[in-house]
């Protein structure tokens, strides 16, 4: 869609990034010991840690992916919001306090607190690295989309590779690696605290602006001069066909009562007006090379089934994809290594509990906002048909260059904050778990921090490459995959360690490895992987549905139980 580069947007963006880097360098001077680098000396206050939870957790997926999915597919994007928050219930009520008591720097420390086993440390480190990389990919994809929208450089392609997207990914990768290498958890905590605060505050402002603006007609009815075709269920009128890309992927073509504008609306009034509106949905027909616009009722956007079409099928197997995703989201939060390490930055279990509550309040409030941001983008008349990840920033642009610049900068720092946490978790897995615990190379503080920094560079570079290749994925969808892997790999081990005396180290090792590699193998054989990773868009994949959690989470639990029962005689029981 035709847009011009905003110098103001770029200047504000650079100011944000510069401030973040400066803060990182300044705070990084304090992180000299391993305790400081990995866990901020365990002295982060519970309130700051709680907001940092929000800053850590609310990634590109939450802001860009969910809002984009709601804008394009309606209510189904909000299902991710509901599932992501529900996972914090598991984290608070089941995991927070016990996991704090068990660990020191990493979640592998917690799993190994009772057994002192190199095998557990190795398995946990592997799962941390795999989950971190899966989670890093969508962040890089989101960053690439952001910089591409910000800079508006002429399109450049090289052997099918979008060079503008690649530039964005490389820039964010370079900045984040710099932050993590120079600072560590102290800086990461404050970056996440600032980012979490800014995200909630500015998104609140954006929602206020959306409601104050109301809903306006911004598209022409499909029936105006278009050929009539058979009307399918859910459609209101004819379709419109055009060879040129539409100005927006969704357009409001009519409001209830013949209004052109609604004026300011309250939260429930906004939903009611949208429900009664007529929306023109544009989709590309690749075979014909044409854009097809189809009118639907607004109320159709406010019920499930727009993206998860399988729930409307009478066949059970088609419904399983949705059930699997919701299970993975519910189980995944408490299994994410970069979230679990944040429990070691506070002083005790009570602080861990309080910071989780603060996190839930701020994250929950934000997820309520995502519904209005996504729907606001849908009716804004400014949706890029080719990029679902940019719906929220482009919505902000309709209110002016300054809001666009601020939201883009905040979205970028959102990526920085989350990626910093992920790389730190991965670096801890390498330096503390693999090198020191598994390989037995005892490192002094200086050497351990050095090893972690080198690991940060390598993990960051891998994430950059994969982020460039995964350009066509919706970031929310990719993070859902990361939740599947985390829940399959880590949750059974954590839960059974805490609640079942019969857990053995062999059971935990087997569970983590089966969960990790089982879920990753599943994902890499799905239709979506063939289309968006391998570039084979006509392949149906080898798996019946795209989200493996429904199979791999119970499988991982079962493996733990069976192996533990088979090996329990050779191990002493744990006392929980």
């Amino acid at each position: 869609m035709p847009q011009q580069t905003s110098v103001l947007a770029i200047v504000i963006f650079l100011m944000f990034v510069g401030f973040t880097l400066g803060l990182s360098f300044w705070l990084g001077r304090k992180a000299k010991t391993a305790g400081g680098y990995f866990a901020a000396h365990g002295q982060v206050g519970w309130f700051v840690n709680g907001i940092a939870f929000a800053g850590d957790y609310l990634s590109a997926a939450s802001f860009l992916g969910i809002c984009g999915m709601i804008a394009f597919y309606g209510y189904d994007g909000f299902l991710y919001s509901i599932g992501f928050l529900a996972g914090w219930v598991v984290a608070l009520f089941v995991i927070a306090e016990p996991i704090k008591r068990l660990g020191k720097y990493t979640f592998a420390d917690a799993l190994d607190a009772k057994f002192n086993s190199k095998g557990i440390k190795l398995a946990a480190a592997i799962s941390t690295l795999v989950v971190s990389i899966f989670y890093l990919i969508p962040q890089m994809v989101g960053a690439g989309s952001l910089l591409k929208a910000l800079l508006h450089l002429p399109a450049h392609n090289w052997h099918g590779l979008d060079l503008n997207h690649a530039l964005g990914v490389i820039v964010v990768g370079g900045v984040v690696i710099t932050i993590v290498v120079t600072a560590g958890m102290v800086s990461t905590t404050w970056v996440q605290f600032i980012k979490g605060s800014l995200l909630v505050v500015f998104c609140s402002g954006l929602v206020v602006a959306i409601l104050a603006n109301g809903i306006n007609v911004n598209g022409e009815r499909a029936s105006d001069g278009a050929a009539s075709v058979t009307v399918a269920p859910g459609q209101l009128a004819a379709t419109r066909v055009t060879p040129e890309p539409p100005t927006s992927a969704r357009q409001v073509t009519a409001l209830e009562g013949g209004k052109i504008v609604t004026g300011p609306l309250g939260p429930s009034e906004f939903i009611a007006e949208l429900s009664d509106a007529t929306i023109l949905q544009w989709k590309k027909d690749p075979a014909a090379g044409m854009w097809v616009g189809t009118e639907v009722r607004g109320s159709d956007q406010l019920v499930p089934g727009g993206y998860f079409t399988g729930i409307r099928s009478p066949e059970l197997v088609k419904k399983l994809d949705f059930i699997s995703l919701m299970l993975a989201l519910f189980c995944g939060t408490a299994s994410l290594p970069h979230i679990l390490i944040r429990y070691y930055t506070v002083k005790d279990a009570a602080a861990a509990r309080k910071s989780t509550v603060v996190g839930i309040i701020s994250i929950g409030f934000f997820y309520m906002l995502t519904l209005y941001i996504g729907l606001g983008a849908m009716v804004s008349g400014a949706m890029d048909p080719a990029d679902s990840n940019m719906a929220a920033p482009l919505l902000a642009r309709t209110f002016g260059d300054v809001p666009f610049a601020l939201i883009t900068a905040i979205a970028f720092t959102t990526v920085l904050g989350t990626v910093s946490g992920l790389i730190l978790a991965a670096a801890g897995a390498v330096a503390h778990d693999l090198i020191e615990s598994v390989m037995g190379h005892k490192l002094n503080d200086h050497a351990k921090v050095g090893a972690a920094k080198w690991a940060s560079v390598v993990v960051g570079a891998i994430a950059v490459v994969l982020g460039i290749l995964a350009k066509d994925f919706n970031v929310g969808f990719l993070v859902g995959w990361a939740f599947n892997v985390a829940a399959s790999a880590n949750l059974p081990a954590i839960v059974m360690l805490l609640f079942w005396r019969g857990t053995t180290k062999q059971g935990m090792i087997a569970s983590i490895l089966v969960g990790t590699f089982g879920s990753v193998t599943w994902l890499l054989l799905t239709k979506e992987a063939f289309a968006n990773f391998y570039g084979i868009k006509t392949h149906d994949g080898y798996m019946p549905f795209s989200q493996p959690g429904l199979v791999t989470i119970p499988l991982s639990f079962a493996v733990l139980v069976v192996v533990s029962l088979l090996t329990r005689k050779s191990n002493y029981r744990i006392a929980v």
């Binding site: 400081g36 000396h41 608070l92 089941v94 607190a113 009611a272 499930p304 949705f322």
Partner: protein, 87 residues
Amino acid sequence: MHADTVKPDTGVDASSIHNARLGIVFFLFYFLLYAGFVAIVTFKYEWMARPMLGGLNLAIVYGMGLILAAIVMAIIYMLLCKRPVAP
């Protein structure tokens, strides 16, 4: 020996047992709410279009309700949790 102040907090006492049991009860209650939501969306998705409060449909009310419930339950849990008794 690492010159840092991060040490695992290994105390398991009456307060932590009380908090753990309370957590399980809260978790099970929320799980039922969540499972109910997923079940309706999966097997009776048409119910989600039914108008509820203030013209909002069940999908919006139930979805927002789950988010609010998580926040409210988290606050109540924090208030009901016990702190360790000082020796």
